[in-house]
Amino acid sequence: MATIVANEQLAAGIFRMTVAGDHRGEMGQFYMVRCDDGYRADSYPLLSRPISIHEWGKEGIVFLYRVHGRGTELLSRQMAGQHVLLEGPFGTGFPRLDVAQSSSKRIALVGGGMGVAPLLPVAQHYRHADVYLGYSGTVFAVDSFKKAVVHSEQVQVMNDARRSVLELLDTRRYDCIMACGPAGMLRALAEQCGYIDTMSEHIHNEWMSHHSLATASAWMTTEIEQTSAEQAEVHSSRMNTPSMNTSSMNIENKMSTLQRPALYVSIERRMACGLGACLTCTVRTRHGNRRTCKEGPVFRAEEVCWDELAHL
């Protein structure tokens, strides 16, 4: 049980809740949150709600959330002094390099809508990163990002329901991009970065069932350094036309990998346990099933089966 220090409305339907206590975690991780109902069988909701870590403030951990359905609406009605139940931190977040290592990399953070929430700790870590924030009407948290980075000009905002934040972004200028936002935005970004090739996508989309429960696999430990190393390794793979047999599935889609930046995306799936036990949040990746709550929510773009990231 944790005490709410503040629960302020930043904009229509957008709240910032600060919860007292030493709630740790990594950037991109999340907590399972519920109002304190003593775990009653008959109070709404049954399942806790996954909410990303937005900030570690002086008074406690901060969550930035949108009133989406009833669970978040209930949260928004809680007042300072009331309690929430938090479990976490859960999941695998954005890659963390220490400042010395990362300062030579050109990094961009791209957030769409509520997707900006988990990016603030990332901006606070990679203070030289460029930050692209997309909104469709209501703008929030921009000042936090401006404070996080070295120069406030690093933060660019697109606030237009009909235009994408991606218009602001030249992906070729970056070594690494970390993003969170609607599935459509993430897909467009992956395409822009050269991660989606329509033909090979279909091949990779074949259902790969092996080691669906595999424990933390190699890609999880991959860091930006490795990504660049990989890119150097790959030469003329562009000419390799993937064939339809099964063994070819293990061949990465290497088209245009030379130019493309490393891309990390944080994705959303409905969850029950939040900690890796129930397999309701599983996504298909190119290496088999992965749990969004455990191996995710942050995945490397080349892992994601983009055509399946549609409805939750």
């Binding site: 399972m32 429960l213 129930c278 397999l279 409805h311």
Partner: protein, 310 residues
């Protein structure tokens, strides 16, 4: 300690609180949250002979006081389980129960044999292994196997018989609330030599996305669990426990010490807790401790005093 002990198929559990299959993984993740050694037992995620990727599309939806799941028996297969998961699971402490699914008799039998052979191998080496098989003839989320066996006693009988012949491990058969005649089904299991029955698995159920004009689930139907089903599950457990002599393990929406006691008073030897693990991550510990407190407060020396009292 003996306050809470109970017995299933010759295996003594330190207490009647068992984590339900599919809701507790193989114990590892919850073990990082609390000391799971306090539990009576853990039913691992449903296993099949071969690995299964499970169902595509949406896998979970909330309903009023319940949830629908359509995981579809995603699992690494028995071989991978034995190789990669079992050592760690057995080290946790509680009784290790393997939940066995299958698409046909052959798969069930081969799976049971594999689990049993592994048990004996480990025993010879002085190591713990799978101590009980929970035969899942009742998963509503897989198109092939599972559910058909679970509804029709005549179809289920050969499976139970064959698996019984294939293993000398204690055998608990998990019944479906979708069974046409659940009491008859339980009696069949008893006749075929099952050591226990557990019930209920999830109810076949549905939720429609009226915007998209389709079921939320690619499979159409999904499995309902949680507090919503408790009154029905309790009735079924009461019926079955009053019909068979073998132990009955009750479950369905248990979310509090009082709920667990209701099932025991209805005749359950032990109980399983599924969905409530998602509500309260430390549900197992809370139930074990709470049950013990309640027994002491009521001056009850053993569960037998209240079991089946209603």
């Amino acid at each position: 300690m003996s306050l809470l002990t109970c017995n299933i198929g010759g295996i003594s559990l330190r207490n009647p609180i068992i984590m339900a299959s599919g809701t507790f993984g193989f114990g590892r993740e919850y073990a990082q949250q609390y000391d799971v050694s306090v539990l009576g037992g853990i039913c691992g995620k449903g296993l099949t002979l071969e690995p299964r990727a499970g169902n595509a599309g949406c896998r979970v939806q909330e309903t009023a006081a319940g949830m629908l799941n359509s995981v579809g028996l995603e699992n690494p297969g028995i071989a991978a389980f034995l190789a990669d998961e079992l050592d760690e699971m057995a080290a946790l402490g509680p009784c290790v129960i393997a939940n066995l699914g299958g698409a046909n008799e052959d798969e069930y039998v081969k799976g049971a044999r594999q689990l049993t052979a592994d048990y004996h191998r480990r025993q010879r080496a002085g190591r713990r292994g799978v101590e009980m098989i929970e035969l899942n003839i009742s998963c509503p989320n897989v198109k092939q196997g599972g559910i058909q066996f679970g509804v029709d006693t005549a179809m289920a009988r050969p499976i139970v018989r064959a698996v019984r012949a294939a293993t000398d491990l204690p055998l608990m058969v998990k019944l479906s609330p979708n069974a046409q005649q659940i009491v008859e089904m339980a009696l069949m299991c008893e006749q075929e030599g099952a050591d226990a029955v557990s019930l209920v698995n999830t109810f076949s159920a549905m939720k429609i996305d009226i915007q998209r004009r389709r079921s939320y689930f690619d499979n159409g139907y999904a499995g309902l669990s949680g507090p919503a089903i408790k009154p029905i599950a309790l009735r079924m457990v009461h019926q079955v426990a009053h019909a068979v002599q073998i132990p009955v393990v009750g479950m369905g929406g248990i979310s509090s010490v009082e709920d667990a006691i209701e099932f025991i008073m209805a005749g359950a030897e032990a109980v399983q807790v599924g969905t409530h693990n998602f509500v309260n991550i430390r549900a197992g510990k809370m139930l074990v401790e709470g049950l013990e407190q309640w027994m002491r407060a009521q001056g009850i020396a053993s569960l037998a005093e209240i079991r089946g009292i209603v």
